[in-house]
Amino acid sequence: MIIQIDHLVKRFGQNEVLKDVSLGVNKGEVISIIGSSGSGKSTLLRCINLLESYQSGSIQFEGKNILSSIKEINSYRAQVGMIFQSFNLFSHLSVLENCVIGQMKVLKKSRADSERLALETLEKVGLAQFAKTSVMTLSGGQKQRVAIARTLCMEPKVLLFDEPTSALDPEMVGEVLNVIKSLALEHRTMIIVTHEMSFAKEVSDRVLFMDKGIILEDGTPDQLFNNPKEERTKEFLSRFRTQ
């Protein structure tokens, strides 16, 4: 188990967004989380990265409670990379600098080493030729690929994708999904919140269906998509197919 979540509860004021969520993530596992909006998918991801705090329950990373030492929160975050729906690239920096800054400031690597890894990673997502470009001039799909590269440069042990293609035009979705697929082939540990059902089916080892703040169903893609146990899952999936 690389991540172990126990009885997680998250409230925004009166609104209970996560109700007693428990989840174990094995090393090398690709997990997709599906469910309608407001079901708590993104909040769960943001809690794992501590971008949101939670009211009760615990999250353990490699056997250690992530809140046990406040001082280590930042180094924990660097090991659990997050890719956002709206990219959140550092808009005052070039593509290369976006990938370099974290390595130099957080991991304290030299500029030469940082740039080497950054260029390698940009090559991998197919954007090495844009290294010196301002991120403002890129298309949405390119921006998201830079964001993935930026996260990969931190050499994280877990990757969290928060609806990585939801802000993209349909024709750009493919290029981003292809990058994520190639990462899945490398057996990286990934948790992907997505609305791309066929992608989730193809890429994941496990699919979770979340509804109203709980994980309602948890199984292999085959079980969950072809043979859902819960009525609510069936309903959700059928609505997706007819859309």
Binding site: L51, Y76, F87, N88, G102, V106, Q129, T137, A167
Partner: protein, 264 residues
């Protein structure tokens, strides 16, 4: 003395030209001091404003200790007193008050006194400008920085401030222009800036409207040329970015060019 007075032409432009040519060194001295005070005051004020603005924008998160929560609350309280007091009272009053409190120090260093007063006053405005600049940024910038493991300090210095200052640049420059004009209130404590010098000149020749017409033109020249320089710098600063509407699907032509250059 009588002969000088009788030589002054009677029309506004003629009199002004005469006064300016005759008393140029006095005006020049005043204008120089005005610029020195305004520029130093703006720069020191910006430094104060950066400090205060950052302190006021310090984030605290739920998982931070109770102590940190109270410390941050206290800092916000103290800094807001500074900002509200200095934005809420006239600089002329502040000048007289501060000057007399530190009279032994300031009596023989009026230029220095002027710089201190303008700096403290500008600092309060700059703090608000910087805070607004920080808050205008997308929350995602902060989240992205934290998500790659940056601490609050690194996030602020490497990610937030460069963008906040760039966004706030027009407002920061505007403070400089405002300061060029507002240094005139320092004549109340006898700083020999442009307004003070003009009063001197007008007193010698007893021609107020003509003298202050010259003064107005000098102020206008200073502020307008400053505005032009600031606009130029702003333009230069924005060359890298692109602010217009943008398609999600097609990267900007510029990106294509870069791609072509590299592959050729």
């Amino acid at each position: 003395m009588i002969t000088i007075l009788s030589k002054i032409p009677n029309d506004l432009w003629g009199a002004s030209a005469y006064i300016f040519s005759k008393y140029a060194p006095l005006f020049y001295f005043g204008a120089k001091n005005t610029l020195i005070i305004a520029l130093s005051g703006t720069i020191i004020g910006l430094i104060i404003g950066l400090g205060i603005g950052i302190l006021r924008a310090l984030p605290v998160y739920d998982y931070d200790s109770k102590l940190k929560h109270s410390v941050v609350k206290f800092i916000r309280f103290i800094t807001s007193i500074y900002v509200e007091v200095f934005r809420g009272t006239p600089m002329m009053v502040q000048a007289v008050f501060i000057y007399n409190i530190f009279l032994p120090v300031f009596k023989n260093a009026k230029l220095f006194a002027g710089i201190v007063i303008v700096s403290i006053n500008t600092g309060a405005y700059m703090a608000e400008i910087i805070r607004a600049g920080i808050q205008s940024l997308d929350k995602g910038q902060n989240e992205a920085a934290r998500s790659i493991g940056m601490n609050n300090f690194q996030t602020m210095v490497f990610i937030i401030l460069p963008q906040a200052i760039k966004n706030a640049f027009p407002a920061i420059g505007n403070e400089f222009v405002v300061n060029i004009k507002d240094t005139s209130v320092l004549n109340v404590i006898g700083v020999t800036e442009l307004f003070f010098q003009s009063t001197t000149v007008a007193g010698i020749i007893y021609r107020f409207s003509d003298t202050f017409f010259v003064t107005a033109l000098i102020y206008l020249f200073l502020t307008y040329s400053t505005t032009l320089i600031l606009k130029y710098v702003e333009h230069k600063m924005n060359l890298g970015g692109y602010d217009g509407p943008q398609s999600q699907t097609t990267p900007l032509i510029k990106a294509h060019y870069v791609e072509k250059e590299k592959t050729l």
